[in-house]
């Protein structure tokens, strides 16, 4: 009961301290519970989606003729194959597609739009209830990408119209497509009835096939891929497997979960530092009381129990509050998962992990307290009763004296000097400001980078004004030649670079042949930033994407054996670049290509300064229909739009968290510091220092530490932060992200926000000095 009374009084006396420490434990618990919940929901939802859709384990895309009987024979003879099907995708040109209530077609879309019917055996296209879609004639199921982009509803329309055709479909459902959900996958499947598909076949002739397999043992997919590559079966296109589907589907939410958990761990570190600071300050203040307790025979364990009980209470309540707070936050974080993948039932472990994680934060706080409280051992009764005002021996810095302080005002001098002399004490504040600066600046840098036109280099593409992609068609080669001839004579074109991606056969070190997609052209016209080395220039040189290089275990200077014109040719790896498209597995070389194995052709071009990019995009889209013509900004926003939007949310949250943490800790720290400095403040006031003078001193302290924290935090953000972001994006193929920095945002706006937050909190915290009576504070 005595302990309870002491606790109540202690918490009433130091309410702010208790509240701030509680807030940090709660916030940390909330974030770790939400982060772990997001990971559980994501992995559960991914698994459920892939199970419900019976996603294929291996897919070979093919543009061209196909012999289904040959494929079935081969599959039947292959023991690894459990099931096989070939999906026909009818390519619908964007210029004929009208999504929703609009007069503008999808002329400049970068998406390859295909119309399909529901698959019979596996690779089911699901609706938002994860049920297999079944549409009636006249109805259509639309990929979620378009629902989000255009805010579509059931009942809206999709129109397909060119000169000879005008069909309107009613949106009956939205498609969860295990293969093509994410925006970074530039293919989308719309589901229509079989009859409607047949009717559309009359008008659209371009078809692409997905030769799909489900294996008895999904772990054998690499072996199977090699077997297929050497089978002679259709392979005019990219191969993808289930692992890549899962990675692409889970990547942006996985990154969000990772960021949230890292934030929560950093917050718990701050909570522990706060606890350390408050416990030490409290013990110092209470040293006489502790001495009295020891003198009257109260044991060290019992004294420790009084302090520990308070922090156990704060830790337990904080964890509980954090866990309960995470319950309404979880749906916000996992809304993307819910939409694109659906919800999976959570088992007992799924429910328990966030609870345990939240509890873990409280436990960490309590254990830290117990460790810190060990210093109570060192206080003897006599020492404690004889102790003075608790301030250290002080000592002055001979170099930095008031006499030699030059133009610095007295109050600013006193503030700065105090920070220099009590730097250990101010260490907590410094670390917190460093953390806040880091947490705010890194996402802002990343957002600026991903929104900058130079981000295109992480997509394996040199920076140009316009990109023209030719779709698969019978006369593609002729159309390509016509396109090049036109560009050559177009006075608005400053420079252009034709690029052809085709398949080559690579001979592995084990002698097994594999297919590799290689882009050929002149890479000096629109150069790319290389992580290592340089672009291929000679005919025996090639560059690899970083994912390819990692999987093939090749570095600059190594050799790769290709079959070129029927002969083996050793190619030296001249460089490694970053590419987050096409699964991140691409290559570049200066080689003659086999027209039979061309996958796609593209041209990058720059227009002259006097020309309008938008006008040229429209002109080329009409002139070279059905080529896909996009400007750089459009390409980036269509590919990364969803990621940018999520990142913007994460950035806003990070800025809010950073500002709140800076404000809360400043408030806590200064309140305790002012309490500690009570007698010193009284002396200054007795000498004639006004409240304003004292405020300037504390503001100087806070802003000096903030300035140092921002400075070091900025350096860390630009170095460590960059590496952290690179590590996250290396999963997608961009292993060396270099931040594009907006100096106004990073070095003016954000520091100003922090300064305002800290200044306001400082001024609020030091209001307490007004109420203090000088006469009472001066100890006589």
């Amino acid at each position: 009961m005595l302990v309870v009374r002491i606790l109540k009084r202690d918490i009433a006396r130091k309410t702010l301290v208790a509240v701030v420490v509680f807030a940090f434990v709660a916030l940390s618990a909330l974030l770790v519970a939400s982060g772990s919940n997001l990971i559980i929901e994501l992995s559960g939802a991914l698994g459920a989606l892939f199970e419900a859709s019976k996603a294929p384990h291996f897919v070979q895309m093919h543009a061209g003729e196909i012999d289904q009987a040959e494929i079935e024979t081969w599959a039947g003879a292959n023991e690894m194959v459990e099931e096989q099907q070939t999906v026909e995708m009818l390519t619908v040109d964007g210029s004929t597609l009208y999504v929703g209530d609009t007069e503008r077609p999808e002329r400049t879309t970068i998406m390859d739009v295909s119309f399909v019917k529901q698959n019979p055996r596996f690779d089911f296209l699901l609706d938002l209830e994860n049920q297999v879609i079944d549409v009636s004639p006249g109805e259509i199921a639309v990929p979620i990408y378009y629902r989000e982009r255009d805010d579509l509803r059931v009942g809206d329309t999709i129109r397909v119209a060119d000169g000879s055709l005008d069909r309107t479909f009613r949106v009956a459902a939205f498609v969860r497509d295990a293969q093509m959900n994410p925006a970074i996958v530039h293919s989308k499947r719309f589901v229509v009835h079989e009859d409607d598909l047949s009717a559309l076949h009359e008008h659209f002739r371009e078809t692409e096939y997905l030769v799909e397999f489900r294996l008895r043992d999904p772990g054998q997919v690499s072996t199977f891929a090699k077997a297929y590559a050497s089978s002679g079966l259709p392979k005019q296109g990219t191969t993808v497997d289930r692992d890549l589907f899962m990675t692409l589907n889970g990547l942006s939410d996985g990154i969000v979960a990772g960021v949230v958990i890292v934030l929560s761990l950093l917050l718990i570190v701050i909570a522990i530092l706060c606890l350390r600071f408050t416990i030490l300050a409290t013990v110092e203040e209470d040293v006489k009381e502790i001495g009295v307790m020891k003198a009257i025979g109260v044991g060290r364990r019992d004294i420790g129990r009084i302090y520990l009980t308070k922090y156990v209470l704060i830790g337990a309540l904080g964890s509980l509050a954090g866990y309960l707070g995470s319950l309404p936050v979880n749906p916000l974080l996992s809304s993307n998962v819910m939409l694109y993948m659906g919800q999976a039932p959570k088992g007992v472990i799924g429910q328990a992990v966030p609870m345990l994680a939240a509890g873990g934060m409280g436990l960490i706080a309590v254990i830290s307290c117990a460790i810190i409280l060990r210093r109570l051992r060192r206080i003897t009764a006599v020492e404690a009763l004889r102790s003075g005002d608790g301030r250290g021996p002080g000592g002055h810095l001979p170099v930095f004296t008031l006499r030699k302080s030059g133009p610095l005002g007295v109050n600013v001098f006193l503030g700065i000097r105090d920070v220099l002399q009590r730097w250990k004490l101010f260490g907590l504040l410094f670390f917190v400001f460093l953390f806040c600066a880091f947490v705010i600046i890194v996402p802002v840098h990343f957002l600026t980078t991903i929104q900058s036109p130079s981000f295109i280099s992480y997509m394996g593409i040199g920076r140009s004004d316009i990109r023209i992609d030719l779709r698969q068609s019978e006369d593609r080669a002729q159309r390509f030649e016509r396109l090049l001839a036109h560009l050559e004579s177009d006075a608005d074109v400053e420079k252009y670079s034709p690029l052809v991606t085709s398949q080559f056969t690579m001979v592995g070190e084990d002698g097994v042949e594999e297919t590799i997609d290689i882009q050929t052209g002149d890479f000096s016209i629109f150069p790319l930033d290389y992580v290592e080395g340089k672009a291929p220039e000679l005919r025996d040189e090639m560059a690899l994407s970083s994912l390819n290089a990692r999987e093939m275990d090749k570095a600059v200077g190594d050799t790769v054996v290709l079959i070129v014109d029927g002969q083996e040719r050793e190619m030296r790896v001249s460089g490694i670049y970053q590419d987050v498209t096409n699964g991140g597995r691409t290559a570049k070389a200066v080689l003659p290509y086999n027209p039979e194995r061309v996958l796609w052709q593209a041209v990058s071009l720059d227009v002259t300064e006097s020309s309008s990019v938008d006008r040229k995009v429209q002109e080329y889209a009409e002139a070279f229909h059905p080529a896909r013509v996009t400007d750089l900004e459009g390409y980036l926003s269509q590919t990364l739009g969803n990621t940018i939007s999520q990142l913007r949310t994460v950035t806003l949250v990070a800025v809010a968290v950073g500002l709140c943490v800076a404000g809360l800790i400043t408030s806590l720290f200064l309140t305790m510091l002012i309490s500690k400095d009570g007698s010193q403040i009284a002396i200054l006031r007795s000498l004639g220092f006004s409240l304003r003078d004292v405020r300037v001193q504390y503001l100087s302290r806070a802003l000096l530490v903030l300035g140092l924290g921002i400075g070091v935090g900025t350096v860390f953000s630009n170095t460590l932060g960059q590496r952290l972001v690179s590590a996250l994006w290396s999963l997608m193929g961009a292993s060396q992200i270099k931040f594009v920095i907006d100096p106004i945002r990073a070095y003016v706006l954000l520091p100003s926000l922090l300064m305002v937050a800290v200044s306001v909190t400082t001024l609020l915290a030091i209001r307490g000095i007004r109420e203090a009576n000088i006469a009472e504070l001066i100890v006589e």
């Binding site: 301030r391 021996p393 002080g394 000592g395 002055h396 001979p398 004296t401 008031l402 006499r403 007295v410 109050n411 000097r417 105090d418 002399q421 007698s679 010193q680 002396i683 200054l684 006031r685 007795s686 000498l687 004639g688 220092f689 006004s690 409240l691 304003r692 003078d693 007004r770 009576n773 000088i774 006469a775 001066i778 100890v779 006589e780």
Partner: protein, 255 residues
């Protein structure tokens, strides 16, 4: 001589709880003339320190009036009171209360720099002169831990005088010193008073009070008696005589 500091009907109450007030000062009237050297004596709990803090503006009185140089303190805001303390008052405390993180010289010039009284070099010169006068000139660059109690109290006196205040207040200025150091400090204060500075001390020590011109005796929050002792010239025999006279008077009064 004109009146420098005066109080009339000065009351101070502390509220300890519901329907529980403690009246520490009760209708205190006093007048201090320019150039006087006055002490306030009384037993513990008589209210002498509270009186000091209320007439110096460090605490707000409950009712009554306090004027310094004709200026009513109750009419001043916190900022104005701070300014008054800085420029017109000096304080010498029992425990000296120097800032431990500044050198001795910096402690002395600190109020001078803040007041911007004639520029920093003028303040530096004044500080140096004061330190020489009180006999601690060699301690300028020392840390506050590198001086004796008596030396530190001299530092406190220099700090109190740096802005040439109208009045210096002392709260048991010799309370933490041995008798030799205490005697030296009182000699110093007497010397300062002879130079024209008005001084008001609070003390329970007869030896200290005996060296002042006038002694006010407080009991239970009121000034109950007053004894004029005349100017202290400053020698050992005179000191003893004054102590005896004061002690006899206190006994006679039953204090």
């Amino acid at each position: 001589m004109s009146v420098l500091l005066e109080s009339s009907g000065l009351n101070k109450r502390f509220v300890l709880g519901k329907d529980n007030e403690q009246r520490v000062l009760k209708d205190v009237d006093l007048q201090i003339e320019e150039g006087e050297f006055v002490s306030v004596m009384g037993p513990s709990g008589s209210g002498k320190s509270t009186l000091l803090y209320n007439i110096s503006g460090m605490d707000r009185m409950t009712s009554g009036s306090v004027k310094l140089g004709g200026q009513e303190l109750a009419d001043l805001s916190e900022e104005e009171l701070s300014d008054l303390r800085l420029t017109e008052m000096g304080f010498v405390f029992q425990h000296i209360h120097l800032l431990k993180n500044l050198s001795i010289f910096d402690n002395i010039v600190l109020p001078g720099y803040l007041a911007r009284n004639g520029g920093r070099s003028a303040v530096n010169q004044r500080a140096t002169a004061l330190m020489e006068k009180v006999g601690i000139g060699e301690l300028a660059d020392n840390d506050v831990t590198q001086a004796s109690g008596g030396q530190l109290q001299r530092v406190g006196i220099c700090r109190a005088l740096i802005n040439k205040p109208s009045i210096v207040f002392g709260d048991e200025p010799t309370g933490a010193l041995n008798s030799k150091a205490a005697g030296e400090i009182m000699d110093l204060l007497a010397d300062i008073n002879r130079s024209g500075t008005t001084i008001l001390l609070v003390t329970h020590n007869v030896k200290v009070a005996a060296r002042t011109e006038r002694v006010l005796f407080m009991l239970d929050g009121r000034i109950v008696a007053e004894r004029k002792l005349g100017t202290y010239v400053g020698n050992g025999r005179e000191s003893s005589a004054r102590e005896e006279a004061l002690s006899a008077w206190l006994l006679e009064k039953g204090f």
